[in-house]
Amino acid sequence: MGQDVVDAALEQMECVYARPDTLTDTRFHYCPGCGHSVVHRVIMEVVQEAGIREQTIGVAPVGCSVFAYNYMDVDMQEAAHGRASAVATGIKRVLPDRFVFSYQGDGDLAAIGTAETIHTCNRGENILMVFVNNAIYGMTGGQMAPTTLLGMKTSTSPAGRTVETAGFPLKITEMVAMLPGTYYVTRQSVHTPNAVRQLKKAITKSFQYQKERKGTCFIEVVSNCPSGWKMTPVQSNAWLVENMFPLYPPGDIKAPK
């Protein structure tokens, strides 16, 4: 079949799914099956559909998604490790009519960035915080994260995480939900197409609330790290459902009525 035949056939078809313009053509560097790529895409789809590309500013963390600028074709600023929400605060305060989101991993947001996370939410900064929880430090090669499950083996908890040495997995999303500054706090995932659709709705709502200046919107995405977990992508998604969801159940934690 010649290319002209293919082109002609394509002409006849209705486009139901395409890469949003807000996502660059660069191929993701993330490991196969990694949730980061899906979360990137969903955020950028929402930005595209809401038509707010020129008004959107993203803040990337230090972590695997430090390279977010490669894919998200909007203005981006990388923060120092843990400080994304403080950088986002600075941007939003001087440009209050822009859409500002931060994007962080669990080490970034819930370990070194705990103070910034709590205080950004407590001040009720009008931003969207996206928190990708894969229960491990991906970028640095699989060390324990604050969200690592009990018994889970990582390179800094080689015998499995124990309460005695490392304490309990930190449910920071529940913590920020307690703060009056947060308006919408939800836990989502990207392990199935339906979950991806739910996440998209949550992000769409968050940008709407940001427009209405309602306060901080906080979305945790329970995600995977096939490389750090030493699993195939399929195994990792099954493991996530079995092991992460009992502790980090998906659903709204704080939602406006």
């Binding site: 230090v62 430090v66 990388e78 120092a80 490790h81 843990g82 080490g107 370990a111 070194i112 705990t114 430090y137 640095t140 090669g141 060390q143 324990m144 604050p146 390179s155 800094t156 908890s157 080689p158 015998a159 040495t165 490392a166």
Partner: protein
């Protein structure tokens, strides 16, 4: 005293500089490590996490470097030998606690496996850009000790030396690796425990009533006790008197801070450590440290083949700086060439000490790789013109 054999893996190993550092710490008697993962230093804490359960050590992965570097301050006063480990951005976050350790005279070790900065920089690539930060990074005045290994073997040896110096002078000691040395794998020979000299804490054992936590001995270093030993100690980062209680006057400040600086300065003849090769009768000297001492060797050989009399002085201890020796050599040679993976740090110190007696030429490199020896060779030649 010699090392506790339970912590010493005597024999030949084929390990990298990071792992050698972990083994050195364990051999030195370190039993508390608090750290936070960061490339290229993470392997140090990973090995500690694996090994500590077998030697009764406590390893905690803290929430960040600020917490790590202050947690070790608690452990030190609880009576343990303690260490924290990091790299570039984490080292920057630790600065306040280097000052805290200097002020409270807490023996402890900070390891910095240098990567290219500033900021996030090049996380997996080498640099030697933290050398002045090591000297002056915390606010205020204090003396400091910093060591710079150039091989995995030396990473092992100098980690032990770092702990020994920390105890001997009641001071924080900085071990300044670079990414190359941290990640380079070579043969490391760990000696039998009874051949490893260990400096124990200068514990005070006299009557309780006479004890003063900051009363210096003749070498300007005070003896120490631990919290919980019944001495009612008080430890503070505020300027304090010999009892350890805040004394907020210019007089007390002068007495305390002057001693902190003098303690290192006056003992520096015993602390400084450098290796010389071919410096006798040399017309030009290369001063180097860490990985750069190894890239300098081919350059020196090239120059020697052309009949240039080149000497090599390698800093093993970088702080305190061997001021006197550099001054002496500067008077004898035409020039001093300083290759380093920064754009002018230790070379400034060489320049200061040579006081114009010799021409000092820095061979700068912003990091992200190592020198091409040819560049050092060219600098050696040019420096004589």
């Amino acid at each position: 005293m010699t090392a506790d054999p339970r912590g010493v893996l005597t024999g030949p190993h084929f390990i990298d500089g990071d792992h050698a550092c972990s083994e050195g710490a364990i051999a030195a008697g370190c039993r508390f490590v608090a750290g936070y993962p960061i490339t290229p230093s993470t392997e140090v804490v990973e090995r500690i996490a694996l090994r500590f359960p077998f030697v009764g050590g406590v390893f905690i992965q803290m929430e960040d470097e600020i917490a790590s570097s202050i947690a070790i301050q608690g452990a030190v006063w609880g009576g343990k030998k303690a260490m924290t480990v990091t790299s570039g951005p984490g080292f920057s976050l630790m600065m306040e606690h280097i000052g805290y350790a200097a002020m409270t005279e807490a023996p402890c070790v900070f390891v910095d496996v240098q990567r290219a900065g500033p900021s996030t920089g090049l996380p997996t690539q080498p640099a030697q850009g933290d050398m002045m930060q090591a000297r002056w990074g915390s606010h205020g005045d204090y003396g400091i000790i910093a060591l710079s290994p150039n091989s995995p073997q030396e990473s092992f040896d100098l980690t032990i030396r770092a702990f020994n110096l920390a105890e001997q002078y009641r001071t924080p000691v900085l071990l300044m690796l670079d990414e190359c040395v941290g990640h380079m794998t070579e043969r490391v020979l760990i000696p039998p425990a009874d051949r490893i000299e260990i400096t124990e804490r200068r514990l005070y054992r006299g009557p309780k009533d006479d004890f003063l936590l900051y009363k210096p001995d003749e070498d300007l270093v005070p003896s120490m006790v631990s919290a919980g030993d019944g001495y009612r100690i008080h430890v503070t980062g505020l300027t304090h008197d010999e009892r350890g209680y805040p004394a907020m006057t210019a007089g007390a400040q002068d007495k305390k801070v002057r001693r902190l600086v003098e303690k290192i300065r006056r003992n520096s003849p015993d602390i400084v450590d450098f290796r010389e090769e071919g410096t006798e009768g040399a017309e030009v000297i290369v001063v180097s440290y860490g990985i750069t001492s190894r890239t300098a060797i081919p350059a020196i050989q090239m120059a020697r083949r052309e009949g240039i009399r080149v000497g090599h002085l390698r800093l093993v201890v970088v702080w305190p700086f061997p001021e006197e020796r550099i001054r002496e050599l500067a008077r004898k040679v035409t020039s001093i060439v300083v290759p380093e993976l920064n754009l002018g740090q230790m070379s400034l110190e060489v320049e200061r000490c040579s006081g114009g007696a010799a021409r000092v030429v820095q061979v700068g490199h912003a990091g992200g790789g190592v020198h091409n020896p040819h560049d050092i060779y060219v600098a050696i030649k040019k420096s004589l013109r």
